[in-house]
Subunit: 374 residues, 2 copies
C-alpha cells in the first residue's frame, strides 16, 4: 500500500513542524490505521488492548502493538519498527513510556490523543513520565485527515456506492407485507454480499417512527404509504460509509412527492454553497434559510459533517463551527426534516469540496425519483 | 422490560453500599445499556455524544442523553428522570456537573468510569467540580455485571446459538473453489438473516493463515484440506455473541481429526474445572497443563473470558488474575492452539458457572464431529 496515496503526509509534516512537538502519538483506531495502514479489529472490541503509532518530528515512525496480533499487523503496515507488549504482563502505556524515554523525549513535549486515551491510561502515562509535557493533538489529526488524498477519495466513494446499491437493491426486492425487521435483514445481507466487513449501524425507521433518529425496527408489517428511512454505516476494507435513503411502500402520495422534491431542491442549493473558503456554520445557515423559505423550520443541530475513517468527523456543519471548508474535504450533507405529520425525510449526499463548488460522489440527488417498494 | 430480570439489582445495591460513594456514573455504552435498558447506537459511532446514567445510593436513577435522540431513548428505558443536552451548544459533562450539584453531591465522593471517560472529558469534569472526589468505579460495574440474571443468561444463550447456526449453515452451504472472502460473506448474510443487528467482527482464517489471530480473508480459492477458522462477534437485540468454529474443506485428514479430538478432550477437562470458587488463573493453568500432557505448549496469553454486554469481559482467564469464579458467571472458554504445521485450532464453548461445575450453553463441544465443507 503506497503510504503517500492514503495519508496526507505533506499536510501532516507541516502541522507537526508548526506544533513544535517532539512527536505525536496516535491511539485511536482510526488514527492508528491512518498512520500505519494496519486495521486491527480488536482495537474497537477490546479497547484496553491498545495499539499506538509514535510519529516523531524527525526519524522513523514506531508502531506499538500487542504481541498476540503482531504477525497480522506486520503483514498490513508500512512501518518497520514494531514494538510489542505481552498482554496482562505489561501495560501498553509502560511500553510507550519506555519508547519515549529511549528516544530522549522524556522531559520534552509530546502530542497525544486526549479525546481517545482514557482517564486511567492517561494517569498512568503521567506517572511514568512526570516531567514530560503531554498535549492534546486530536485537532492536529482532525485537520490533517480532513483533506483527502486521491486514494482515499476513491475508497470512500466505493464504500458509499456499495452501500447505496445494497440499500437500493433491498428496496427493489422488498414486498408489501414484509416486516420492518425483515427489510432491515435484507439490507444487511446485501451489504455483506457487497463486501462490507463490519456493519456498525443499520437503522430502519418506518411510518410513525420515521421521524425518530434511531428507532428499533419492529415486527410490524410494512403498509402501503409508509415512508421508510434506512441509515447504514458499514466498513469496506477499512473505509466506512454513511448512507441514508428513503422509500415509500407502494407508491408515494402527492404530499410525499412534494416534500421529497422540495428537499431535493434545498439539497441542490446547499451542495452549490459547499465550497472551499466557506465556513461550516455558513453551510448550516444556508440550509436553515433554504428550508425557511419553504416555510419549514430546520430543527436538527447540524446538517452534515466531514466523512473519514471515523465516519462522522471534523468539520461538523453546525452553527458554532467557524472552521473554513478546504478543497479535498469529503462532506456528507444529510439534513433530517420532520414533516408536520411526523414523517422524517433525510436527504443525504456525499460531496467532494473544490475551489469552485462541490462535486457529487454518491447520494440521493443522483437518483431520479423517490424509490417505491412494491 | 422488567429491570430486575436484566440487571443484577441486588448485587449492585450491595456493591454501591459497600463503596461508600454518594453515587456512581455509568458512561460506557455497555453500562448505560445495563443500567437503563436503552441501547443507543451512536454511543459507539459518535463517542463524543455521551449518554450517562447517575445511580445514587438513595433515590431515583437519572439518565443524561443528547436531545437529538431523546424520543428513541425514552421509548426504551425504564428510567423516568431524563435530562438532555443540546449537542454543540452544551457539553454533556457540563450537564452532568449541573446534575451532581443539584443533587447536593458537589464536594462528595462520586464513582465514575475512568477506563471509559476520555482524558479530555475527565479534565473538564474536574474543572467544573474541583472539590468533588471522583473515583474509578469500573471494577464495581465489572463485578456486578459478571454474575448474570436469568433473563440475561437466556439472551446471551440465544445470541450464541443464533451465531453458531449462522456459521454452521455457511459451512454447509459453502463449496470447494469458493474464495475465502465469499465464505465470509455467506457467514455475514446468515447472521443478518438470523437477526444480528450489528456485526462487529467477522474473521475467516484459512490454511496458512489459520494460525493468525485476525488475518484478512483473501480472494484465494478454498482448497481441499484447508483448515478454516471463523470468528464472529455479533449483537442480537443488544446482547453480543462471540463464537469461533472450525471446518475442513473436503474432509479432515487423520492428523487434523486427531488434533481436533485432543482439543475436545482438553476442553472437557477445562470445562469440568470451571466452577464457583476456582480462580481465573487456576482455569488458565488447568488448560496449560492439560495441553502439556499431550506434548503441546500453550502459548496464548489467556484461555477465555467472562461474557457480557462488551463481549469480552471480566474475569479474563489469564495467569495473573486471581479473581474467584462465582455462580452465574458466563464464561467463554476459547483456547487457540497453533499446531507445528502452522494450523490454528480454536475450541470455543459458552458455559454457565455453577457451584458444582459448568453447564454448557453453546459451543463446539456440543457438535459431534468437526464439520466438513463439501
Amino acid at each position: 500500500m503506497p503510504r503517500e496515496n492514503l495519508m496526507n503526509v505533506e499536510e501532516f509534516e507541516r502541522e507537526l513542524s508548526e506544533s513544535g512537538l517532539d512527536a505525536v502519538v496516535a491511539v485511536s483506531p482510526a488514527n492508528v490505521f491512518y498512520t500505519s495502514g494496519a486495521a486491527i479489529p480488536t482495537l474497537r472490541s477490546i479497547p484496553d488492548r491498545l495499539a499506538m503509532t509514535v510519529l516523531p518530528i524527525a526519524g522513523e515512525t514506531i508502531l506499538l502493538t500487542c504481541a498476540i496480533g503482531e504477525k497480522g499487523v506486520a503483514a498490513q503496515t508500512w512501518i518497520e519498527d514494531i514494538r510489542t507488549y505481552r498482554e496482562f504482563a505489561q501495560s501498553p502505556i509502560h511500553l510507550l513510556a519506555n519508547v519515549l524515554r529511549e528516544k530522549g523525549w522524556a522531559g520534552g513535549r509530546i502530542g497525544i490523543e486526549k479525546k481517545y486515551l482514557t482517564g486511567e491510561y492517561y494517569g498512568e502515562l503521567v506517572e511514568w513520565l512526570p516531567d514530560t509535557r503531554f498535549e492534546a493533538c486530536d485537532d492536529l489529526f482532525d485537520r490533517v485527515r480532513s483533506t483527502k488524498t486521491g486514494g482515499e477519495i476513491e475508497r470512500f466513494r466505493q464504500a458509499a456506492v456499495a452501500t447505496e446499491r445494497a440499500v437500493a437493491e433491498a428496496f427493489r426486492e422488498a414486498t408489501v407485507g414484509q416486516t420492518e425487521r425483515q427489510l432491515l435483514e435484507l439490507v444487511m445481507a446485501n451489504l455483506a454480499a457487497r463486501g462490507a466487513c463490519e456493519i456498525n449501524t443499520c437503522i430502519l425507521a418506518a411510518a410513525d417512527q420515521s421521524g425518530l433518529v434511531h428507532p428499533t425496527a419492529r415486527d410490524r408489517s410494512l403498509q402501503r404509504g409508509d415512508l421508510v428511512r434506512v441509515r447504514v454505516e458499514a466498513v469496506f476494507d477499512g473505509y466506512p460509509s454513511g448512507v441514508s435513503r428513503m422509500a415509500v411502500v407502494g407508491a408515494a402520495s402527492a404530499a410525499q412527492k412534494e416534500m421529497y422534491d422540495r428537499g431535493r431542491t434545498v439539497q441542490g442549493t446547499v451542495i452549490e454553497g459547499t465550497r472551499a473558503g466557506v465556513r461550516a456554520c455558513d453551510v448550516f445557515e444556508l440550509c436553515v434559510r433554504a428550508w425557511a423559505k419553504l416555510g419549514v423550520e430546520y430543527r436538527a443541530p447540524f446538517v452534515g459533517h466531514g466523512v473519514g475513517l471515523d465516519g462522522e468527523e471534523f468539520p461538523i456543519l453546525q452553527p458554532e463551527n467557524q472552521a473554513e471548508l478546504r478543497a479535498n474535504m469529503l462532506i456528507s450533507i444529510e439534513p433530517l426534516i420532520v414533516a408536520e405529520n411526523g414523517e422524517g425525510y433525510q436527504f443525504q449526499d456525499l460531496v467532494l469540496v473544490g475551489e469552485d463548488g462541490a462535486k457529487l460522489l454518491a447520494g440521493c440527488s443522483s437518483v431520479d425519483d423517490m424509490l417505491d417498494i412494491h
